[in-house]
């Protein structure tokens, strides 16, 4: 760590024992050490923590990657991303791949011997540079045991988010395995460490999932972690296709976390876009910068970056370091102009609310300059909060045990992840993508949220060409922006907009509508012998 990004950024947090600021807003009891404490200190100092997705099979390269992350010009935490064989519990395949020198897509932590991994971490990981294991496993006990054995105690996932989109494991079994894994992690508190667990529920399929469901699953997974003994957690949310919608979503997530996890150290972590990424380096950078700006505006404490290689292959260490530094610089830049980004949001959808909103925005701007760690944003309410509350409430009513409640909720279709093929997912929910990138429901299935976000029926995404077009909306938008630098950035759009653009208010957009262009991903010609239609229910 070489300190905060240059420029107007506040200094990097001092990570000295006992140097904790008391009573951080929005977070419960802040632990004295560990991953959660590090992020809390950075947040108190007004600096966004940035983190890569990084994992390679070779221990020496993994060590180099961690060191380069630590030494980047940004406030960073390290990552060990695991390979797909380890994720799916196929340790034989991981061992064979290592023996044969086959390229793996991550670090096989349960296959390398513990001493090897200790050497990878030795002299790199310490109180100033915590390291988190990222995996994607529905049955993660072998992974949790392996990481605890080498002195790591921060990881991520969740019984829903690492089961439905990541496996064909029955949800019930994933819940049991995750309960045991949480208990294992939490047992480390006896030895004075403060294990940290992050929800992956804010990502789900990576794209095309409306925010309210991401928030609900993220919050429910955090409640599950707390029920099984964790006292330091983070709640994820993945950047989607419209910065205004994302800002509203992040604000709601922070509010619900504050309400429902008052006694637990927690922070919000934003993932840079998790869907089909821009192909051009310029487009990828613009999207990452927007993620960093969004994180700052919405008060997220940590950002997980994506690189310019995302659309193509596993990134190099160098590409990851550049992404970390790009994000840190954009975050510092955004933080240096809080007034600018706070004021336009005073424009609420309703005129009655405008005066109060303006006053609040002024207060927000003042607060943001005086206390950078305090995120106060005035964002229009499009119904995300009502939907998220309805989903969380309906699930928690099913059972006092969060895990059982989750299993029953999916069986009843109260939670239903759009386009997810898992047999335990009802598969009736479908998404609609407005021209401005806003994610809406075209079908809510049996989820108890019908009619909560106003405005009539939404057109569904139709056929293979429609699906590719929706999946590549963000890629197309940012590759176009990179090709034409005069096109307004998402941030500029937010700032310049006279009121928050809604899909039914196209006149609010400041950028002229562009003629439709072919998506970057080749779209098959419409030689369809059957009519284009929405993907039907995916009953197992």
């Amino acid at each position: 760590m070489t300190g905060g990004p240059a420029g107007a950024a506040p200094p990097a947090p001092t990570i000295l024992p006992g140097g904790l600021p008391a009573g951080l807003p929005g977070a419960g009891a802040v632990p004295a050490s560990g991953f959660g404490a590090f992020v809390a200190r950075a947040r108190a100092a007004g600096v966004l923590v940035v983190q890569p997705r990084m994992g390679m099979a070779d221990p020496l390269r993994m060590r180099d990657g961690l060191r380069a992350t630590r030494d980047a010009d940004a406030v960073t935490v390290g990552t060990v991303t695991l390979d797909s064989y380890t994720r799916t519990g196929d340790l034989d395949a991981a061992r064979r791949a290592l023996a044969e020198g086959v390229g793996l897509n991550g670090y096989p932590i349960a296959t390398h011997c513990a001493d090897t991994t200790r050497t990878v971490l030795q002299g790199v990981m310490d109180a100033r540079f915590p390291v988190q294991v990222r995996h994607g496993s529905a049955m993660p006990e072998h992974i949790v045991r392996a990481l605890l054995a080498v002195g790591l105690d921060a990881t991520e996932g969740g019984p829903v988010s690492y089961c439905l989109p990541y496996s064909r494991t029955p949800l019930r079994e994933a819940v049991t395995a995750w309960r045991r894994s949480c208990e294992l992690l939490a047992s480390m508190r006896e030895y004075g460490s403060e294990p940290h667990l992050e929800t992956f529920g804010g990502c789900l399929m990576g794209q095309l999932c409306p925010p309210s469901l991401l928030i609900a699953v993220s919050v429910l997974e955090a409640l599950f972690f707390r029920q099984h003994g964790l006292t330091s957690v983070s709640l994820s949310y993945a950047q989607q296709a419209d910065p205004r919608q994302d800002e509203e979503a992040l604000t709601v997530l922070a509010r619900l976390a504050g309400e429902l996890l008052p006694d637990v150290d927690h922070h919000v972590v934003l993932y840079a876009y998790m869907g089909v990424f821009p192909r051009s380096p310029g487009g990828a950078r613009l999207l990452l910068e927007d993620a960093a700006r969004l994180a700052v505006r919405a008060g997220a404490a940590r950002l997980i970056v994506k690189t310019t290689a995302e659309a193509h292959r596993i990134p190099t260490v160098g590409e990851n370091v550049r992404a970390l530094e790009t994000a840190a610089a954009a975050a510092a830049d955004e933080r240096a102009r809080p007034a600018l980004s706070a004021v336009p949001r005073a424009c609420g959808p309703g005129t009655a609310a405008t005066a109060a909103a303006t006053a609040a925005a002024t207060a927000a701007a003042t607060a943001a300059t005086t206390a950078a760690a305090t995120a106060v944003a005035v964002v229009p309410d499009t119904g995300i909060e009502a939907e998220a509350r309805a989903l969380i409430g309906a699930v928690l009513e099913l059972d006092t045990d969060v895990g059982r409640a989750l299993v029953r909720a999916f069986a009843a279709g109260y939670l239903d992840v759009p386009y997810c093929l898992h047999p335990d997912n009802a598969g009736r929910a479908r998404t609609s993508l407005a021209p401005d990138g806003r994610l809406l429901w075209s079908s809510v299935g049996s989820m108890p949220i019908a009619g909560l976000a106003a405005d009539g029926p939404r057109p569904p995404i139709l056929g293979s060409a429609g699906l590719i077009s929706a999946l590549s909306h963000v890629q197309r938008t940012y590759d176009d922006r990179a090709a034409d630098p005069s096109a307004p950035t998402a941030t500029a759009e937010v700032t310049a907009a006279a009121c928050p653009p809604r899909p039914h208010l196209p006149q609010c957009r400041t950028d002229p509508p562009r003629p439709p262009e072919p998506p970057r991903t080749p779209v098959p010609p419409r030689t369809t012998s059957t009519p284009r239609r929405e993907l039907g229910p995916t009953t197992p």
């Binding site: 064909r168 193509h312 596993i314 093929l421 898992h422 030689t527 059957t530």
Partner: protein, 164 residues
């Protein structure tokens, strides 16, 4: 582990093919599978989509049970080349599937677009087509279009005597 097949939708042509769309054990990506299912159904074929992380035994068992006209393997997590070599060997070892058109596509390695050597290795191992990124979808459509009509013709060549 519970079987996980996705219901088939849309109006298949009488001459349409029975197609299995699947990924392999280590890969959890499914947008690729949903896309391929829609594409093939739009072309008039009947699709069974096996979903995420399909274990080798389940994959082979489903293919033996359904005896499809075409098997489409898709993988994007970077392990597809090695997983594909293993799986095609298992498929070809089944007498019922020895001649079934079988293709693979997606992002098959971890270092970017495919090499001719990788493609040759996959063809040698038993695949009839390899569709790595870049225009692969159009090539795939012409490949599918060049296959003999499904159901009846396949049942005859397979000698099962059962006309579907």
């Amino acid at each position: 582990m519970e079987q996980h097949a996705v219901e088939q939708h849309g109006k298949a042509e009488p001459t349409g093919l029975d197609v299995i769309v699947t990924t392999m054990a280590s890969d959890s990506h499914t947008w690729n599978l949903v896309f391929l299912q829609l594409l093939l159904e739009e072309l008039g074929h009947r699709v069974t989509n096996l979903g995420a992380c399909v274990p080798d035994e389940l994959l082979v068992a489903e293919c033996c049970r359904i005896e499809p006209d075409l098997i489409v393997l898709s993988s994007v997590n970077g392990h597809g080349f090695h997983d594909g070599l293993r799986v095609v060997e298992a498929l070809r070892a089944c007498p019922e599937l020895a001649g079934t058109p079988t293709v693979i596509g997606g992002k098959l390695g971890i270092s970017g677009s495919g090499t001719p050597a990788r493609q040759r290795a996959l063809l040698t191992a038993g695949f009839d087509g390899v569709f790595e990124e870049g225009g692969s979808v159009l090539d795939f459509q012409s490949f599918v279009g060049s296959l003999p009509a499904g159901s009846g013709s396949r049942a005859l060549t397979a000698g099962s005597g059962v006309l579907l």
